[in-house]
């Protein structure tokens, strides 16, 4: 009467579609939660997903049901002290019932909130939705070409390692059929004649003998057709196909002079992380080059880039010069997509700023895909900003933004990479 089925091997994610529907429906709330979270998030924490918090009232599904009030009759178990007619006064208004009303939510996981996790991919999808890398199509074909070897049919010449056995044997069969067909026809006719003669009442000894000789000769000739010939051999052919490179290098340039405090660096770091995450969605392989500068520039590792303290004046062009040098040495612009991101508090030696502009326009921007400059300051802009403004006018893929605090990072980032429908035209 019973039938056992082991369902454990069946797919377990029956609810995936429904989960996606849920995320689809609450996208706006979830997105808000994501953008709130990005600023709180630990900077090194790029591999994990995110906890999403949605107020419970937004999720409620209303039905007609009885409210509170009215007359209620209830039976309870475990009477230990009551007699009929006992009256129990209600707890004072506002107190007593607290536990049922939901606790205050300070950790973001109170009873009034619906909290759940999304995976890293879902998180990134939401984070970068509607964003696109600018300037991607323009130079897609004229530079940054990498070659990939692809199969392209068969050819008659090649090295033995590339022999395609199936194709070659097909050729062999075809050749054998073609070369033997006339002989086999003759053979057939001879055999037919032979059977006719043999069944004949009269003797045809000499004729039979002649026919048998012919048949033998024909068979020998058919057998002489080689099983395989060099003519049959087919080799797999390969061609080189141009594909856009999937390698990118991201230059992080930062001013580490005395005026840049740790908080400012943290803001810059968050911006770099966002950019890095965003690039991972387009490129398989990303190199990051950290260049920090005060009066001199130096290529450093991540730890030193973000956390070591330096003092001194600021010459921004030194970093740009180093970037040009690194590009020339290691990242030829035909192989690499080059992205630059510079962060500074705006301080620069006044005479140096025009040189920065010149370097950017002549040496860097022609090779780069995109260059962004963020200025993190509460003060008025200085010469560097004004010089860069002129660069921005001349070059479409140079962007500059002013960031005042942590809260600005994500909106500014979105603004920089907003998908532009028109620019494609």
């Amino acid at each position: 009467m019973a039938n056992f089925i082991d369902r454990r091997l069946n797919s377990k994610n029956k609810s995936t579609v429904n989960r996606q529907r849920f995320i689809r429906r609450y996208k706006s709330q979830i997105k808000k939660s994501v953008s709130d979270a990005i600023n709180k998030r630990g900077v090194t924490d790029i591999e994990s997903g995110e906890n999403i918090t949605i107020p419970k009232k937004d999720l409620s599904e209303p039905i007609f049901h009885q409210g509170s009030g009215g007359v209620r009759e209830k039976v309870h178990p475990g009477n230990d002290q009551f007699a009929p007619g006992d009256r129990i006064s209600r707890p004072p208004q506002g107190g007593g019932q607290g536990s049922g009303q939901g606790d205050a939510s300070d950790s973001g996981e109170g009873e009034d909130d619906f909290v759940f996790s999304i995976s890293k991919d879902e998180y990134l999808d939401l984070l970068f939705e509607d964003l696109a890398l600018p300037n991607l199509e323009k130079s897609q074909l004229d530079k940054l070409v990498e070659y990939k070897t692809v199969r392209s049919g068969f050819c008659a010449e090649g090295v033995p390692a590339n022999i395609d056995i199936v194709k070659s044997l097909q050729g062999s069969i075809a050749r054998r059929i073609a070369m033997t067909s006339s002989k086999r026809r003759e053979l057939k006719e001879a055999e037919k004649a032979l059977t006719a003669l043999e069944s004949d009442k009269l003797d045809h000894l000499s004729e039979i003998k002649a026919l048998k000789a012919t048949i033998k000769d024909l068979k020998a000739r058919i057998n002489k057709v080689p099983f395989i010939d060099t003519f049959d051999l087919r080799y797999r052919n390969y061609a080189r196909e141009a594909v856009p490179t999937s390698k990118a290098v991201m230059f992080c340039l930062m001013d580490v002079s005395g005026s840049m405090d740790q908080a400012t660096k943290d803001i810059a770091k968050r911006f770099y992380i966002l950019l890095y995450l965003f690039l991972t969605r387009t490129y398989k392989e990303i190199d990051v080059v950290y260049i920090r500068h005060h009066t001199q520039a130096k290529e450093v590792d991540e730890q030193e880039f973000f956390y070591s303290q330096e003092t001194g004046g600021t010459i921004a062009s030194s970093a740009l010069e180093l970037m040009v040098k690194v590009i020339d040495e290691r990242y030829s612009s035909s192989d690499w997509n080059i992205y630059g991101a510079q962060a500074s508090d705006g301080d620069n030696w006044a005479d140096d700023s025009p040189l920065c502009k010149k370097l950017l326009l002549e040496k860097i921007l022609p090779k780069a895909r995109y260059f962004s400059y963020i200025e993190i300051t509460q003060r008025a802009h200085q010469t560097l900003w004004h010089q860069y403004q002129e660069v921005a006018k001349q070059c479409g893929y140079f962007a500059m933004r002013h960031i005042k605090g942590v809260d600005d990072i994500y909106p500014v980032f979105r603004e920089l990479f907003k998908k532009e429908e028109k620019s494609a035209a």
């Binding site: 009467m1 019973a2 039938n3 056992f4 089925i5 082991d6 369902r7 454990r8 069946n10 377990k12 994610n13 029956k14 609810s15 579609v17 429904n18 989960r19 996606q20 529907r21 849920f22 995320i23 689809r24 429906r25 609450y26 999720l59 409620s60 599904e61 209303p62 039905i63 007609f64 049901h65 009885q66 409210g67 509170s68 009030g69 009215g70 007359v71 209620r72 009759e73 209830k74 039976v75 309870h76 178990p77 475990g78 009477n79 230990d80 009551f82 007699a83 009929p84 007619g85 006992d86 009256r87 129990i88 006064s89 209600r90 619906f114 909290v115 759940f116 996790s117």
Partner: protein
């Protein structure tokens, strides 16, 4: 009884052992005349159990965000350790599908099989509510049809429209049941065949209902025919048949939600009985196997540990108290009925003259087949049960600043406690009583609903939100009235909202 070699009682289960235990349980169940649908027992993992939770017990569900929400909720609470998963889920279908959790020990699997595959299963097959409301043979096919139909609609008309329609239907789901009429049975083949015809027919009916007849202007003075002629409690049915602007596919969606609601309606009304019956039988069957020597002491200790947890009833002042545990109430009532049959006291003979001393198995089957929670309690709750549970009745009138103990477990209180407890399981007292009283087919096409309060309990604030959903389906004005103490109708809410009218009515 001849002692037999006990079954293997090592904690890990295997499919061979499951078969052996199942066979023994089936033999004992037959001995007790448990009539069941064929069993289909499926072993699943915890993740799959969460999927089953999310689809609220439907083995195949159409796609909707609310199930995603339930899944996420279940997953979160389970992962944080705030909730354990059930040992089993059982589906009222033929064959009867039971899900067993992979993590259960052998003892638990045996308990679960006795509980679900023989207890619940025989209840589904025998109880009158299930017999008249659900068709176990066709439910899986129907759900499959529903899933495909809704997927097809999403494809044709877009996810957003289908989702909005389903949202609206879900809001009215509890009011998609015929409480008084008996439903007709229908097979899937007919359902499919009829569905196409119905689509066209329904639309034509609706069109003729709403056709404007210029000739009527002359006789406008004529007594207005009230439509519908009687108040309608099945809101979804009324919408499906009469909403003027619904598209044919939307009518079918309304119908699907209505059918699903109807399928679950008996389960809502028989929770105490259903669980009680299943607990009684896992307890009785496994004890029977123990008496035969087929299961060991070790097995029984683990079983009793789980069993006791399931049927525990915390007292009203315990921190674990959250109302009466249906497992505890149901299990003890069935045990008590058996006691009344086998060892009646004088009190039992006075209270239950018709069953005291009768054949317990006959009586139990009779009770299972012919009652629902409400009538079951009012028929079989004995004074001994009331004393054992120390039940007491609290009268809570919001107008007083106290609540009153109006009856306890003594001679004067038995009858009253029994009545009140029985009412506590009466769905029509628990769910808001809302009926459609009028659809103005000759005028502005507005829809009028009336809420009839039970014991002065008002309708919760969500009403205006629900009306928005109703308005989505009806697409003309929707007004909800409530009858006050003087029999006068007061406007509670309307959609589109008429704030002024409501304010002035107050």
């Amino acid at each position: 009884m001849a002692k037999r070699k006990p079954l293997d009682d090592s904690p890990d289960w295997t499919f061979d052992k499951l078969e052996q235990y199942q066979a023994e349980i089936a033999r004992v169940a037959e001995h007790y005349r448990l009539d069941t649908y064929p069993n289909q027992i499926e072993v699943i993992t915890a993740e799959q159990m969460m999927d089953a939770y999310a689809s609220v017990g439907m083995p195949i569900g159409y796609n909707h965000w609310t199930y995603g929400k339930k899944f996420i909720q279940t997953e979160q609470t389970y992962k944080r350790g705030q909730m354990g998963l059930a040992y089993e889920i059982v589906i009222n279908s033929e064959p009867c599908i039971s899900y067993l959790m992979e993590e259960n020990t052998m003892t638990m699997q045996a308990l679960v099989m006795a509980h679900a595959c023989y207890g619940h299963n025989s209840f589904f097959k025998g109880n009158y509510l299930f017999k008249s409301w659900t068709d176990a043979g066709s439910i899986i096919d129907y759900l499959l049809f529903a899933k495909n139909y809704i997927a097809e609609c999403e494809h044709k008309y877009g996810i957003d429209d289908v989702e909005a329609t389903l949202d609206a239907c879900h809001a009215l789901m509890n009011h998609g049941v015929d409480r008084y009429k008996r439903p007709q049975k229908i097979s899937l083949d007919e359902e499919l065949k009829r569905q196409k015809e119905r689509e066209e027919y329904l639309q034509s009916q609706v069109n003729s209902l709403w056709r404007t007849l210029p000739t009527q202007e002359v006789s406008a003075e004529k007594i207005r025919q009230r439509f519908p002629s009687e108040p309608q409690e099945n809101l979804l049915y009324f919408i499906e048949k009469n909403a003027p602007l619904l598209k044919p596919w939307q009518r079918e969606v309304v119908r699907i939600v209505r059918k699903v609601s109807q399928y679950f309606y008996p389960q809502k009304q028989t929770q105490v009985m259903n669980e009680g019956w299943a607990c009684f039988w896992h307890y009785t069957i496994l004890n029977h196997l123990y008496d035969e020597g087929l299961v060991t002491d070790k097995f029984m200790l683990e079983f009793l540990h789980s069993h006791t947890n399931v049927v525990a009833q915390p007292d009203y002042n315990s921190p674990y108290y959250s109302g009466i545990n249906p497992y505890a109430l149901g299990f003890n009532m069935f045990i008590d009925i058996r006691r009344i049959c086998e060892q009646p006291t004088d009190e039992d003979k006075k209270w239950f003259p018709e069953i005291a001393g009768s054949n317990w198995l006959d009586t139990l089957h009779f009770a299972m087949e012919n009652f629902k929670d409400e009538s079951f309690i009012s028929q079989f709750l004995s004074p001994k049960m009331i004393r054992d549970f120390k039940l007491f009745h609290i009268h809570d009138d919001v107008k007083n600043n106290f609540v009153e103990v109006s009856a306890i477990h003594n001679d004067n209180g038995y009858q009253q406690i029994r009545n009140v407890l029985s009412n506590q399981y009466n769905l029509s007292n628990l769910e808001a009583n809302i009926q459609i009283t009028e659809a103005d087919i000759n005028g502005d096409r507005s829809l009028t609903l009336k809420h009839i309060p039970y014991s002065d309990i008002p309708l919760a604030d969500s009403k205006s939100e629900v009306l928005k959903h109703l308005h989505y389906l009806w697409q003309f004005d929707v007004n909800l009235y409530e009858e006050d103490k003087h029999g006068k109708d007061v406007l509670l809410a309307s959609c589109p909202s008429k704030e002024k009218d409501i304010a002035s009515a107050k």
